[in-house]
Symmetry: C2
Subunit: 279 residues, 2 copies
């Protein structure tokens, strides 16, 4: 598989960073992640917007403009020969001489096979637990997943698929997904602050306007527990119904009507987005 490292295309088995890199020394870096559909990148402009915003927030200069990055990503997809791929654009703190100060960032772009959620996955939904935690610098897609990786054994132990963070009784996000609830009054609500604003989240908010009243605001844990529908959104998971929270069933344990409507609309959006880029 091809990788793009700083200035050139190399093979995956050549894609190494020196141990002085600030990602290895201090866990310092940012990334973004998009996927392809039938060989075409989806919502790439949004992902590049967020990539540059994250880099800027962490004081990491990006040498490549988006006019330069875009053809590199297309070329990587071509070289991968994958129709469904995950593209990860990583920017690290660089080779620091004192293992603390930011140096010239290293840019790594990979294109790998990726598991995309299917209709069948949607029907099954996911079981989640809640966990008290607030991501550091939540508006930035940093590489810091210390807590998420550390909690994997807990997830296994609880036989859950994912964990939803909350702090001060307010829910925020999953490690890699956003959360939405549908209220008894049929309003679609998602947390407004202390979250990473997902690209799928953005698309859902836009699509939902035709279906339900939409609110971006704080959601307390009790409101989550009482919600007739809960779902998560993410690039590879699209929309995934949450059917169990801390072992208590959500609604009747099946994907709810609003969630299902949104899912169909999102699949349509994907197809038209794909049609646009692959023309």
């Amino acid at each position: 598989m091809a990788v793009y490292l700083n200035n050139k295309f190399i093979e995956d088995d050549q894609a190494f960073l020196h141990v002085s890199d600030l990602s290895i020394q201090r866990g310092y870096g940012i990334f973004d992640f998009l996927r392809t559909m039938d060989g075409a990148p989806l919502f790439m402009d949004d992902h590049l917007d967020r990539f540059y915003a994250s880099a800027d927030a962490l004081h990491l200069p990006v040498k490549k403009s988006r006019e330069e990055l875009s053809p590199i990503i297309h070329e990587l997809i071509k070289r991968s020969s994958l129709s469904e791929a995950g593209i990860r654009i990583t920017l690290t703190g660089g080779y620091s001489t004192d293992s603390y100060q930011i140096a010239e960032p290293n840019l790594v772009i990979t294109c790998n096979p990726v598991k995309i959620s299917t209709q069948n996955d949607f029907e099954k939904g996911v079981s989640i637990i809640t966990h008290e935690y607030q991501r550091e610098l939540p508006h930035v897609k940093s590489i810091n997943y210390l807590m998420a990786v550390w909690l994997q054994p807990l997830l296994k132990d609880k036989q859950a698929d994912d964990l939803l963070y909350h702090r001060n009784n307010i829910i925020t996000e999953f490690p890699r997904s956003n959360v939405f609830i549908v209220t008894a009054g049929n309003k679609l609500v998602t947390p407004a602050r202390n979250v990473l604003k997902g690209i799928t989240r953005k698309n859902i908010l836009s699509l939902a306007k035709e279906i339900a009243q939409v609110e971006e605001r704080d959601i307390i844990v009790e409101e989550l527990s009482d919600a007739p529908e809960v779902f998560l959104t993410a690039t590879t998971k699209k929309i995934m119904p949450v059917i169990r929270i801390n072992n208590k069933m959500v609604g009747n344990g099946k994907p709810g009507p609003v969630t299902t409507k949104l899912y169909k609309k999102f699949l349509e959006l994907e197809r038209s987005a794909h049609h646009l880029v692959s023309r």
Copy 2:
């Protein structure tokens, strides 16, 4: 400079990790850091204790026993020909196939020149600012320094040398150092919880018993501001008087009597520890 990577000694310019390593992908890993004095490692047993404890806490198996690590470290020091070196033992989450699950950890041991604080540095002391933040999994020496690195421009802007974290009005630690205060009643106090327990901190607590009453307990921000003496402890900084906090002078702006006494005692301890290992 020599580096030890997993199973062998290599040259620094060969010391690379594949981009799939969980440190690069998710900022996941731990480390410890010790120094040498005239070519002999100082307090290595304590640092190795903490290294294994951190690895265990983050579910990272260490293939090498301490009986194996110790001669490797001695050999690295020998190969470096440095009399004053910093030894960093890093253990990462390994080459993860899904960039999320822990794989077989990569072990990287480096031995590099290091700046050790001098008597002159001690006389000058440091100027600090306080910042609201709590390190994640504070008892673990993880590689997560997202906040510390991110705040470097703020430090520069405030013309300060370091920043002291606090949360809920209780002070905890610096990014890489512990904090102590001397109260008006001549008690030596250091935070008891939500901190990484430093090796120098441990040594100071032990030495201080002969000089002052010692307490490990919460310290509120106001008690810090009113303290006649404040200092920090760290492997390369030994004891460093804090002479300014948020631009307000501590005491008369000179190293205080308890701090100075402890500093002298610590230098003696270093010499005898060095004598023990270099015999």
